[in-house]
Amino acid sequence: MECVFGLVGKGFAIVAADTSAVNSILVHKSNEDKVMVLDSHKLLGASGEPGDRVQFTEYIQKNVHLYQFRNGIPLTTAATANFTRGELATALRKNPYSVNILLAGYDKGVGPSMYYIDYIATMHKIEKGAFGYGSYFCLSMMDRLYHPDMSIEEAIDLIDKCIIEIRTRLVVAPPNFVIKIVDQDGAREYAWRESIKSPDVSMA
């Protein structure tokens, strides 16, 4: 199952997710990017049903861009989180989206922040969180090893420890993970942790 987890450090926030696209017993793809870059300083890690995940996160992304075009300034992370939660809540009783979201962002003056948004539109502002089967192993590890204001090296080390734990203990562990980071310089991809590399075509 899909694992998404993340934590907030000193001046940055990290979101990591597995990269498998699975259909019952079949793995269609091992390098599917599930952490979307919403705008220059926001990351949206999502897990859930394939159609819902892509459609909902793209919908949020386009609305975030629209706000910026209309108003000339970007949305804050808190506002984005509340907007996302509102959309999930409105759709919940009619046409619910089965997507779990970890939204991380950096705002000038406020610093880094992370929001946990459930598929039934629960929202919490958190320092560390995880979704999926991987959460059973990661949450306790993060509770034990996390402390506020971690440096980037310490945080990546903790993320790697979580990935290793998932690979060791989860019966259908996803082989590859992507790690993305957002800080005052923006949101970007930090690293891939791959244990299965597929031969890539030298694209035209």
Partner: protein
């Protein structure tokens, strides 16, 4: 005879009418029978209560069996028993019955299709068997649909769904060309289809398709399904035989294959899937999409391929039968 039946049926249809005239309400002793004139609403309520009380299992209550004479109880059982014939299966819940009937005949993506990108373009291959449960309805279905001269779609799932929506996609692609004076990209075409399928999600469409083509950015391959998923990738196989095809495809794949090698790999992968999967068979069709559009490379019957890959070996005889020497 007829009269008797009529009376019985009359009583079974209107038990409440006869009850007050012939039988005491359950739970009361015969000498307690009281004739009361009730208004309609009160009578209805009492009948409801009686009907509900009658359904109780009173075998544990000794007082009840003692109170009511056994003959009356037996007669009561017979008259208020359920109808003498069993209702046909499915009549209890018509909606669920229809759903269940549809499920048995559902295709459930019984097929094998595959597509992969390599340096020289895209190869698309599929079998040609259509099955309904355990019945093979056709061995010559075209599962590779030509959306336009440079884009192909594969069919897995409901044949009608795939054919209709691919044709619809072809129409939308043509409209895009006319409106924008340039061909639509594979990304755009697959997104159009994915959005349509997403809006119908949960309504029973069954489509597992791959959109393969060559556009300005080079070869493109997307997997789109009726759950709304859309994946960009280099290698996909869809259908009940897809795990078998993946096994052969993943092992033989190299990005720098020639067109002939890729052709043979695709054909081999589909053949092996048809060998192991009962819902796949018929003819393997292989297409190649290059910079100038698609071209059909081959269509081979899988049973002929079988004997080509595994020619019949003369089996060595262990013991030869020899005539007994004349005595």
């Amino acid at each position: 005879m007829l009269l008797l039946l009529f009376r019985l049926s009359f009583l079974s249809f209107f038990p409440s009418l006869s009850l007050s005239q012939h039988f005491a309400p359950t739970g009361t002793k015969p000498h307690q029978r009281i004739s009361v004139s009730l208004n309609f609403k009160q009578r209805k309520q009492r009948e409801e209560k009686r009907r509900m009380m009658m359904k109780l299992d009173t075998s544990g209550l000794e007082s009840f069996s003692a109170a009511v004479p056994s003959a009356m109880a037996a007669a009561e059982d017979q008259l208020f028993a359920p109808p003498s014939f069993d209702l046909p299966a499915g009549c209890a819940d018509f909606d669920k019955f229809q759903m269940e009937a549809k499920q048995t005949l559902k295709h459930a993506k019984g097929t094998t299709t595959l597509a992969f990108i390599f340096n020289q373009g895209v190869i698309v291959a599929a079998d040609s068997r259509a099955s309904m449960g355990g019945y093979i309805s056709s061995q010559s279905v075209k599962k590779i649909i030509e959306i336009n001269p440079y884009m192909l779609g594969t069919m897995a799932g409901g044949a009608a769904d795939c054919q209709f929506w691919h044709r619809n996609l072809g129409i939308k692609c043509r409209l895009h060309e006319l409106a924008n004076k340039r061909r639509i990209s594979v990304t755009g075409a697959s997104k159009l289809l994915a959005n349509i399928l997403y809006s119908y999600r949960g309504m029973g469409l069954s489509i597992g398709t791959m959109i393969a083509g060559w556009d300005e950015k080079g070869p493109g391959l997307y997997y789109v399904d009726s759950e709304g998923g859309r994946l960009k990738g280099n290698r996909f196989s869809v259908g009940s035989g897809s795990p078998y095809a993946y096994g052969v495809l993943d092992n033989g794949y190299r990005p720098d294959m020639t067109v002939d090698e890729a052709h043979e790999l695709a054909r081999r992968a589909i053949y092996h899937a048809t060998f192991r999967d009962g819902a796949s068979g018929g003819v393997v069709s292989v297409y190649h999409v290059g910079p100038n559009g698609w071209k059909k490379l081959s269509g081979d019957d899988v049973s002929e391929l079988h004997y080509k890959y595994y020619p019949v070996q003369p089996t060595p005889v262990e013991h030869e039968m020899v005539d007994a020497p004349p005595a």
